[in-house]
Amino acid sequence: MPPTTVQLFATCLIETLRPSAGMAVVRVLEGLGLTVEYPDGQTCCGQPAFNGGAWEDARAMARHTLDVLSRSPAPIVIPSGSCADMIVHHYPELFADDPKYGPLARDIASRTYEFSQFIVEVMGVSDLGARFAGKIVYHPSCHLLRGLGVDDAPRKLLARVNGLEVADLPGAHECCGFGGLFAVKMSDISGAMLDRKLQNVESAGAQTVVGCDVSCLLHIGGGLRRRGAKVETKHIAELLASDERGAMNDE
């Protein structure tokens, strides 16, 4: 039996920088008849601290997030492969020896899904009746692709969008160079990696780069903007929530 209620962990980047992607997620989930809970008090999953080596800080943030998410028994949907990977794989590692948060982390991890993964693998849906006229490329973000092992789900969803042409992205599986604080600490290497990604995006001749992680999209989008490229970025939910007129109907 597919669930009837989900909890949405929106992520701090969607909360602050790209709320439109979050609203698109809500519309897609509600369109499937799901009740969407938004657990109050959610902030950041703590991944930047964890990746920065500040594991005690990361644990404090993870405890907070686990408290927030454990108030409801509903599965958790996260519109980010990276944050989902943090909760699914790294929370249980951070609390491996913790008598209270260890079991909690394993419970939450067992019912946490990235957005596209949830729709295809849990809800068993790939055709959402979306319509979007245009040529896009799909950028598989690293933590979604190699962390969670999710690649088919977003591609299936995109394949069923009416009017959509998905062009091949050369070097699609290569990292865009974001890497969280890496983009600041090792900004020159990150910038060189981004250049390669942007050259590939431009060579594909698409109008839009689509992904499942706002973080990578901000990085790619900021690079496209700096180049003056006319290519835009969209979270996959923003495409899937597009209606017959090719526009999102809730804004």
Binding site: Q42, T43, F182, M186, G223
Partner: protein, 486 residues
């Protein structure tokens, strides 16, 4: 930000020849690897088996080392134990002295790079000539390897042509066949006159005392069979229990490294030349060739300290180099920028594992944690996990930059106090919107200038998601809020 590491990186990023060379080789290796693995039936289970063999061997390394040493000696070889690099170099120098060796020919050996063997031998008046073509090139150029299987990968054929023209006095050419022939002619002389050969070891087989060396140039065979004395240097972790296990490792090694099903030469060496038949029944005059002496130098140099720690998995490494070829950071900066003997993802873990985190603060940071290295590793080493472990260790050792140290407690407080989080987000929204034009910022102050050096940064949204979600649900019959259920 201007550490030696960062200056090396800055130099590498603007080195056009480096990028031409790296692109040629890494993309070719990556494609060949995929094809070669596709040709291996049940590749995933072979990789699982290879990993299981490495894990098993390391879990009983003391036992297998003892068995290996006994087997080597039983086959007529001599085993030497080197606790560190200095001891390893001294042992090799003394073997050379005892053999009155003046010229030594070397096969490719990363462990000898690790111990800096060549300068140690040269200080004793011994001439050392590298016989692997890539190693020969960088020895002529006075450089170090930038890749664990393709040491001269950072050089274009045009650069090699120039180098050979200058150092060997041959006419200027960029033709790889002509360049290889020139090196071959020079090396042939060395092989025939060298008193001693030094090789690395790809695998030692505990049950038989066999050492396995794979090469593509045949230099491994000449190095180990022509001179009077053969010295094989190996890290203590490079063992497999049986010949059957060796076959599993060989199935994945060349495929992962160069995309070959098997390297051109796979040599199995058990003991030195036997003057008399090993078994009575065999009769005959004994073996026609081979060295009079075989010495196996087992080098610890920090490895035993890594066993049993959360970094022990890095000792599973079979030195195929696949993680270097696939790594988007390595592809941009090459091997020398890392500054360590072992570059790339494996080097970023192995180096601080062997030498401690203090001398190597940047290596674990030089990764986006994209996971490509873990995916291609023939023995499925979880390199990103260990990079994270090392970042944790580095943070605890005080290596986090000052600005981040200041920021972390605030970030932690905000992320655990939603009211403070919302306040901080509101402040950032106000500032970024005030400073942005058309929704983007072109410049941020340090340290965030690292971001805006290469890309624009978006202003925060006018209304955060949580507020939009609440508006969306206004007017809906039921207020779905987890407050009710908490």
């Amino acid at each position: 930000m201007s550490s030696p590491f960062h200056s090396r990186v800055a130099g590498a990023l603007v080195d056009d020849n480096l990028h031409i060379a790296l692109n040629r080789v890494t993309s070719r290796f990556t494609t060949l690897r995929l094809n070669a693995l596709a040709s291996l039936p049940h590749a995933d289970s072979v990789r699982d088996r290879a990993r299981a063999i490495r894990a098993h061997t390391l879990s009983r390394l003391d036992i297998y080392l003892a068995q290996f040493a006994d087997s080597v000696e039983a086959a007529g070889g001599r085993v030497h134990w080197a606790a560190d690099a200095h001891a390893a170099n001294r042992i090799v120098a003394e073997i050379a002295k005892a053999a009155r060796a003046r010229t030594v020919v070397k096969g490719k050996s990363m462990v000898s790079e690790e111990t800096h063997l060549n300068p140690a031998l040269e200080a004793e008046g011994i001439t050392v000539v590298e016989s692997d073509l890539g190693e020969y090139i960088i020895q002529l150029a006075g450089e170090t390897p930038s890749h664990i299987i393709a040491p001269a990968v950072h050089k274009t054929k045009e650069q090699v042509g120039q180098l050979f023209h200058e150092k060997l006095g041959i006419p200027l050419t960029h033709d790889p066949a002509l360049l290889t022939a020139a090196a071959r002619a020079k090396l042939r002389e060395v092989f025939l006159t060298a008193d001693m050969g030094i090789s690395g070891v790809n695998f030692g087989v505990a049950e038989t005392g066999t050492i396995c060396i794979v090469t593509n140039e045949g230099n491994g065979r000449l190095t180990t069979s022509t001179p009077r004395v053969h010295v094989a240097m190996m890290g203590i972790e490079r063992l497999v229990p049986t010949l059957d296990d060796l076959s599993a490792m060989l199935q994945v090694l060349a495929r992962s490294a160069t995309g070959q099903k098997l390297s051109v030469y796979t040599s199995l060496i058990t003991g030195p030349r036997r003057r008399r038949p090993s078994k009575q029944s065999e009769g005959g005059p004994g073996e026609p060739d081979g060295p009079d002496e075989l010495h196996v130098v087992l080098v610890d140099n920090g490895r035993s300290r890594v066993l049993g720690t959360r970094l022990a998995e890095i000792l599973y490494c079979i030195r195929c180099g696949a993680c270097l070829n696939i790594c988007p950071v390595y592809q941009q900066i090459g091997g020398h920028a890392y500054g360590s003997v072992y570059p790339g993802p494996v080097g970023a873990v192995l180096t601080p594992a062997l030498e401690g985190v203090e001398p190597w603060p940047e290596l674990p940071q030089a990764s986006t944690l994209c996971g490509a290295c873990r995916d291609v590793c023939p023995v499925r080493i979880d390199i990103p996990r260990m990079l994270l472990e090392l970042r944790d260790a580095g943070h605890r050792a005080g290596q986090t930059p000052a600005w981040l140290k200041l920021f972390l407690p605030l970030y932690q407080l905000a992320a655990t106090q939603p009211a403070l989080f919302n306040f901080g987000a509101a402040a950032a929204r106000w500032i970024t919107r005030a400073l942005s034009s058309n929704g983007w910022l072109k410049r941020l102050p340090p340290p965030l200038s690292g971001w805006t050096d290469h890309r624009d940064f978006p202003a925060f949204a006018a209304q955060p998601f949580s507020a939009q979600f609440k508006n969306h649900h206004k007017g809906a019959k039921t207020q779905r809020n987890t407050k009710d259920s908490s």
